[in-house]
Amino acid sequence: MMHAEQTPMEAATPLLQVQGIRKLYAPGKGVDGVDFDLYPGEILGIVGESGSGKTTLLGCLSGSLIPDQGRVFYRNRDDRKLDLYNISESDRRVLLRTEWGVVHQHARDGLRMSVSAGANIGERLMAVGGRHYGQLREAGENWLREVEIDPVRINDTPRTFSGGMQQRLQIARNLVTGPRLIFMDEPTGGLDVSVQARLLDLLRNLVMDLGLAVVLVTHDLAVARLLSHRLMVMKQGKVVEHGLTDQVLDDPRHPYTQLLVSSVLGN
């Protein structure tokens, strides 16, 4: 009956260590002291209403916003612990092109709208030294298939794609270099409900199959419940509650979390 290997739970090393991040635009506006560790394969959801600081936090974590205080450590593929804001800007950019991915809420912020779908996907491969045209094209076609875009569209520009397709292309563009950590900001925001369902289904499977670690910012508790293992609830720059996703949503303890959860229809 006991079929699985009996390996004890190993003390894994965190992929990301976030310490004392602070970036305030005004009292209560921005990020006001956030700490957490993220392990490989973990999906962390950050939820809160507009103005909670969650997008600012994501910016500080992914290298696009320099925090006023605090540090972000990332353990890279060579097992080196990088202090994100102590390495050079160009080293940060390499990280973003190779081991990290960023999926923006608006696909146009994460795609090159005037080059072909194939080029969008191939660009990151070329940036890390891919040169062989045939291989780049094949990778492009494979990834389009992975994200359920007909490979026949490989030469079309994203301008000709629907919103959902643009988002899926953005995802493919990020995944092509085999990143270990993805930052996502409202990945289904602004999409029709049926389109959202399809995208969430894709994300769910990809993340599970590829063992990706994800930091996912969303205001949508249903998205958070579906995709994330852990949840952090933010209000006015602070984390008011955090824990296992279903526990935070089914047994909320902080007054704000209780309010959020009870305000959602059909949660």
Binding site: M1, Q6, L200, L244, L259
Partner: protein
């Protein structure tokens, strides 16, 4: 610890901050153990904390104090203080939970819903599929429904899909919340068989069963909730 589950002075209450700060204590110093091959039923009137206790055993609810020790991979984990990723590991390998209602995810077929716990454990697609099909057949879910998402199924059908999902992996610990509530007599039989097989192969089972007949046929003893202090009544239930 030879027991599979050891609950130690568990206290769980709720404070509804947005409803006048009303607060109530549901579990007060609850302690008990469950061994391998035992099926324990939670007894008590509605509102006495049976579901609260069951959810706490899955770490879905978080108690204020006390411990829930679970035997996991030859060691013990306290679910009350465990990190989220450790709870997830325990849920993946050790504890299965059949809730009262199936949570439906759009676009995921019945077969995939049932297969998922096995796939996550690394069991091959072929093996997972075979187990899922076998369970769905036993639970009388017609084959023509297998490729459909369960969202349009009846309550009873959804519950049977939920049950299949709970039994696709041989969990050392099984938590069952009213598994036969929406089922007819024939399907209740199937579920009783599934529970007894699991118990006979050594699973430790904690369940809530309103149906007295089902309860009498699967449970070894009962734990009664409802008074301020927990009572543990070791009832020899005749099968």
């Amino acid at each position: 610890m030879s027991a599979m589950i050891r609950v130690d002075n568990l206290c769980k209450g709720f404070t509804l901050h947005n409803q006048g700060g009303v607060s109530y204590q549901v579990l007060d110093q609850v302690s008990f153990t469950v061994g391998r091959g035992e099926c324990v039923v939670l007894d008590g009137p509605s509102g006495s904390g049976k579901s609260t206790l069951l959810r706490s055993l899955y770490a879905n609810y978080k108690p204020e104090s006390g411990r829930i020790w679970v035997r996991h991979k030859n060691s013990e984990v306290d679910l009350v203080s465990a990190l989220p990723r450790d709870v997830i590991d325990v849920r993946k390998h050790t504890i299965g939970y059949v809730s009262q209602f199936l949570r439906v995810i759009p676009r995921v077929s019945t077969l995939e819903v049932v297969m998922e716990p096995a796939r996550r454990l690394g069991i091959s697609r072929e093996e997972s599929l075979a187990r899922a099909q076998d369970l769905l057949r036993r639970l009388n879910i017609p084959e023509r429904l297998w490729s459909l998402a369960p969202s349009t199924f009846s309550g009873g059908e959804q519950q049977r899909v939920n049950i299949a999902r709970g039994f696709v992996v041989d969990y050392p610990v099984l938590l069952l919340d009213e598994p036969t509530a929406s089922l007819d007599a024939g399907n209740r039989e199937v579920v009783v068989d599934l529970i007894r097989s699991a118990r006979d192969s050594g699973s430790a089972i904690v369940g809530i069963f309103h149906d007295a007949d089902v309860r009498n046929r699967v449970a070894d003893r009962a734990i009664a909730l409802g008074a301020r202090k927990m009572h543990s009544i070791a009832e020899e239930i005749q099968s």
